[in-house]
């Protein structure tokens, strides 16, 4: 049943025990995102050294989908190069797109591995909730933009 697909154990686990929750003290990039219509908030701290994400931390509040997505994302980007992070974001976006199969990334590329994030694919069946899953990723996109300018 689709509700069970939406609220998988992994998602509830990340919602209740978010990884990397807190703030970074060392020099870092900080970006914030909000969904004003529903009130979900997400903020991301990242440290990028020599083109590699070396640390991340998250803050925010909201529904299980937005917060779990952020927790998984914060974990998944660690140790990745900026290109790999872009691949990851793109793979996630394709997974969230209702029309499947637009420009999927070669699954063998290291950035394309979603891991826990795959649990979020059930969200696709609930179009009004896709923006919840997306919120941390727009915050990440802002951080990547800051890192490259």
């Amino acid at each position: 049943m689709s509700l069970q697909e939406l609220y998988r154990g992994v998602i509830l686990d990340h919602y209740r025990n978010p990884r990397r929750r807190g703030k970074l003290t060392a020099d870092h990039i900080h970006t914030e995102g909000k969904n004003p219509s529903c009130g979900d908030e997400f903020a991301l701290d990242v440290i990028i050294e020599n083109g590699v994400v070396t640390d991340s931390a998250i803050q925010g509040q909201g529904c299980s989908i937005s917060q779990a997505s952020g927790s998984m994302m914060a974990d998944a980007i660690i140790g990745k190069t900026l290109d790999e992070v872009q691949d990851l974001a793109h793979t996630f976006k394709v997974m969230m797109t209702i029309e499947e199969g637009e420009n999927p990334i070669d699954p063998d590329r290291p950035g394309a591995v979603l891991g826990d994030l795959e649990a979020l694919q059930g969200v696709r069946k609930f179009p009004v909730r896709i923006k919840c899953a997306d919120l941390p990723w727009t915050t990440l996109a802002d951080a990547l933009e800051q890192a490259t300018t």
Partner: protein, 406 residues
């Protein structure tokens, strides 16, 4: 009140959502529309449509009669005179009109505007803007442990510096009925004007502006069975006459010269441009529908269903209800939180069973902070809701607990 018969008038209630019959529990956001309103609006477009107050031909006259007829129905509904009923875009525009039209020229630094922490954003933000323009200060009454407006301090707060008091007649979050009589008395004692945001009260309980004794009220058609895009600003004649129009244009003038103009008498001086005519006519039909049922009966029905809901909901483990427990003090908007399940997740789970509830901050973020709730799910009732709808909600909440492993 025959709810089964009423339900037959609402075509949308025969819809299914996710294969289940729609259970609509979001009337505080907007109500559904009976066939009588839908037919009146389409009939207007099919047979009468013309601009109002402009043409000498039959259609124009009929359109004007229909539009003005709606105004007099609304006036009767709240025991006012027609010239005191201004059609607006809704509650939000009505409050903005008072804020700008009354507040901008009169307020000065040191003056106070008294609001409450429980207001809808539409009764907070316009006053913030006016306060910034004029240097006036905003004062907010708090809420007590029963989620009602705390008026224990009003003797200290109300002095000659208070010029405007604006509070909601019924909260869209907690359902609490506002202390209108006490605040009207306090406001008038110091020479302030009293405004009621009646967006939730007019649709759900009898309203008599003469008995209320306030200066202005504002409400929206779409929350009382009528179309979107229209609402009402009611003001006492002398208040409206003394108030500046915020918008200029056609329809609102007496005479126009190149450098200056004179205004039409009330209510028309506040209705610049072509008004939402079909919507006004639809609102007239909605008022007829509610009048036929009787607002006393509407209120009684909602007290009954709210009491039933509060009772049944209290059986659900981990639930927290944000609102007064005594139905005499409240309307049928019931906000709740269930354990650590976020309101959006609750709304999604309920939607799978066709149950529509609102989730989020309900356009009242300061109140949410005050209640230490990030977001709540809100079920709200109207004339077409039944105890079975409440049962379905309770069942849905049990299901959510299972999905979230509570």
């Amino acid at each position: 009140m025959d709810v089964a018969r009423i339900r037959k008038d609402f075509p949308i209630l025969s819809r299914t959502i996710n294969g289940k019959p729609l259970i609509y529990l979001d009337s505080a956001a907007t109500s559904q529309k009976p066939q009588q309103v839908i037919d009146t609006v389409s009939d207007y477009y099919e047979r009468i449509n013309a601009n109002v107050h402009r043409g000498a031909y039959t259609l124009a006259d009929e359109a004007t009669t229909a539009y003005e007829g709606a105004r007099s129905r609304v006036a009767q509904f709240i025991n006012a005179s027609s010239s005191e009923v201004v059609f607006t875009r809704g509650t939000t525009q009505a409050i903005n009109m008072i804020a700008y039209g009354w507040g901008l020229d009169r307020l000065k630094p040191g003056d106070k505007i008294v609001l409450t922490v429980a207001e809808h954003h539409s009764n907070l933000v316009p006053w913030q803007i006016i306060a910034r323009h004029t240097g006036a200060e905003l004062v907010h009454l708090g809420i007590d442990s029963d989620y009602r407006i705390d008026i224990s301090d009003i003797d200290r707060i109300f002095d000659d510096s208070v010029k405007i008091v604006s509070i909601s007649g019924m909260s869209n979050v907690t359902g609490a009925i506002g202390p209108i009589a006490e605040l009207t008395e306090a406001a008038h004692r110091v020479g302030a004007i009293m405004i009621v945001d009646a967006a939730q009260s007019v649709p759900h309980m009898p309203t008599d502006v003469q008995a209320l004794g306030v200066d202005f009220i504002a409400f929206s058609s779409h929350k009382m069975l009528g179309p979107t895009g229209i609402g009402v600003l009611w003001g006492k004649r002398e208040r409206l006459e003394a108030m500046e129009p915020v918008e200029g244009g056609g329809e609102m003038i007496l005479d126009v010269h190149l450098q200056e103009s004179t205004w039409a008498p009330i209510p028309h001086k506040f209705e610049a441009g072509t008004p939402p005519i079909a919507q006004a006519v639809g609102l007239g039909a909605a008022v007829d529908y509610l009048t036929e049922i009787g607002m006393e009966n509407v209120r009684e029905h909602e007290k009954q269903i709210t009491a039933y809901a509060l009772d049944r909901l209290s059986e659900v483990p981990d639930i927290k209800i944000f609102g007064p427990s005594d139905v005499a003090m409240r309307g049928g908007a019931v906000s709740l939180a269930l354990g650590d399940i976020h309101a959006h997740d609750l709304a999604t789970i309920l939607d799978e069973d066709g149950i529509a509830v609102r989730a989020g901050h309900h356009c009242a973020k300061p109140l949410m902070r005050e209640m230490k709730a990030i977001s709540t799910a809100r079920a709200s009732f109207y004339i077409y809701n039944t105890n079975e709808d409440v049962d379905a909600l309770v069942e849905g909440l049990h299901k959510a607990r299972v999905i979230f492993g509570l």
